[in-house]
């Protein structure tokens, strides 16, 4: 029942999102142009880095880098379109509108995320992902299962990041206005900008367990490019599962405690 409501609401928001894009054509076109410019700047950076004799990214070819950019764009696209809003949930708590949302027939957090999804951004993220994968020159047919695994990891790590953002925004139950914490949550996506290779010991362990930064784009690229063995992939899956379980538990605990603390004038 809850799932059906979520799907219905998603379809309504999807239609509204595309209607908006049609209505404000110039704005939508400008948005696409600027995305292309950002992407070009990113590619240019890597062209410069990979061609300069003083720099070297050991074990990574330019083809791998293009694949990394593809996964990175997909991650940023999904994050910007659907999950960034998780770090703004504190406003719902702070403004006292959480109790009003509790009377609705859907989980307040899920509803908050769904009504703020930018579907056009999801579509453009997929298109740029596909184009970049084609440009990277990878054999799509033979690498398809690996690409799908990579894609699943991007989605899963987005969900974990969203849980982390929500958990941080629950601090508003105790501390009120949480502008700074949402900034902290937003800057976590910085770990998706460059491949996380040769990360020193403790940080490397952290990035594969509690903080899933390694799974944002680096791991999906390494999987899809065939840089990892089967056991590495299974190990990655294990770490990712542990990470999800960890954040689901922490997120649930903080939410429950926060709700106990919550009070508003019911307005």
């Amino acid at each position: 029942m809850c799932l059906k409501r979520a799907i219905d609401l998603t379809i309504i928001m999807l239609k509204m999102s595309f209607n908006r894009a049609k209505m404000f054509k110039a704005d939508s076109i400008m948005g696409i142009i600027s995305s292309v410019t950002y992407l070009s700047a990113n590619i240019l950076f890597w062209v410069v880095v990979m061609t300069a004799p003083t720099f070297a990214l050991e074990g990574w070819s330019f083809q791998n880098i293009v694949m990394f950019i593809a996964f990175s764009e997909l991650f940023f696209g999904l994050d910007g379109a659907a999950f960034t809003m998780s770090s703004r949930f504190w406003r719902v708590i702070y403004s006292g509108s959480l109790d009003a949302l509790h009377t609705r027939p859907m989980d307040s957090r899920l509803r908050f995320i769904i009504v703020n999804i930018d579907f056009v951004k999801i579509v453009t993220a997929f298109i740029s992902f596909m184009i970049l994968i084609l440009v990277s020159g990878v054999q799509i047919v033979s690498h398809l299962p690996l690409l799908v695994i990579g894609f699943i990891f991007v989605v899963l790590s987005n969900i974990v990041l969203s849980l982390m953002r929500l958990t941080l925004s629950y601090a508003a139950f105790w501390l009120g206005k949480m502008d700074a914490l949402s900034e902290v949550a937003d800057c976590l996506t910085w770990f998706n900008k460059y491949p996380l290779v040769n990360v020193p010991g403790v940080a490397s362990l952290l990035f594969r367990t509690i903080l899933p930064f390694y799974f944002f784009s680096t791991f999906p690229t390494e999987v899809s490019a065939g840089m990892l063995s089967h056991s590495d992939i299974v190990l990655g899956l294990l770490f990712m599962s542990l990470c999800i379980v960890f954040w689901v538990i922490i997120h649930g605990m903080v939410w429950k405690r926060g709700l106990r603390k919550y009070e508003s004038v019911n307005g």
């Binding site: 240019l44 950076f45 410069v48 003083t54 976590l188 040769n198 990360v199």
Partner: protein, 257 residues
């Protein structure tokens, strides 16, 4: 001129008082810096395994770039003008004894003065870390101040475009993406291939980021040419904004009557 300066001084003092009420805001803006710097540290440590001096250069370069790019929400200069145009607030400035741009400039410059509280320790760190001369620091400050003014007028001119267009959101995003491309934010412009570098040099954005930072860290001697070019850009952009205002206000008056 004297009256103009008095007005400007009063406005600056007012904004400074406002900022003093929320001193933590300055430091909240810096939340991004440690994360960004850690990321850059990891990246360049990987990319430059042996070249110690290049690695130091890159770290210092990106530290200054981070601080400069996050010094002020530059987009707000343009969006503020757009809001005033859309909501009609701009009309009240026609009868005030203060020029419209003065308000935004005073807000901007008083914030930048406060921001130096954060910037000066970073500059001292770079001075020691890179073993720089005080002469270069002085040159950096001169170029950074000129760059800040260029950056301000650029965004102010973008904002004034709202006198001609209904909404400038798309224009702002386009300018922002071009700025990222040509200002030296992503990588020092000297690393670009010649043809792309010459495109980047065509825009004024490098005077706020690349020129002062590169001058500080590399210390090249051809800065007189850049200084002349920067001043020329400053004058050109000022004239452009005056022109946009003069023609735009006429259109605005027509629309209101």
């Amino acid at each position: 001129m004297k009256a103009l300066m008095v007005n400007y001084y009063i406005l600056m003092k007012l904004h400074a008082k406002n900022y003093l009420k929320f001193p933590m805001n300055i430091f909240l803006k810096l939340i991004y810096i440690p994360v960004q710097m850690f990321m850059y540290f990891l990246l360049w440590r990987t990319l430059i395994p042996d070249g110690a001096s290049d690695f130091r250069f890159m770290l210092a370069y990106y530290l200054l770039v981070c601080l400069l790019t996050q010094a002020y929400p530059f987009v707000h200069i343009a969006s503020g003008v757009m809001t005033d145009v859309m909501e009609g607030n701009i009309m009240s400035f026609m009868v005030r004894p203060v020029q419209y741009g003065m308000r935004a400039l005073s807000k901007y410059s008083s914030w930048m003065m406060f921001y130096s509280i954060v910037f000066i320790p970073a500059l001292i760190f770079v001075y020691i870390y890179m073993d720089l001369s005080l002469y270069r620091i002085a040159l950096f400050i001169i170029f950074a101040v000129i760059g800040m003014l260029i950056e301000f007028i650029c965004w102010y001119a973008v904002g004034l475009a709202s006198l001609f267009m209904e909404r400038i959101k798309g224009l702002v995003i386009t300018v922002l993406s071009i700025r990222m491309f040509v200002s030296g934010i992503i990588i020092p412009l000297t690393f670009f291939p010649d043809n792309i570098r010459s495109i980047a040099y065509f825009f004024p954005f490098r005077f706020y980021i690349f020129v002062p930072v590169n001058l500080l860290l590399s210390g090249w001697n051809n800065y007189w040419f850049d200084l002349a070019l920067a001043i020329m850009w400053l004058v050109l952009l000022y004239l452009l904004s005056r022109m946009l205002w003069a023609f735009g206000v006429k259109r605005l008056g027509g629309a209101m009557s």
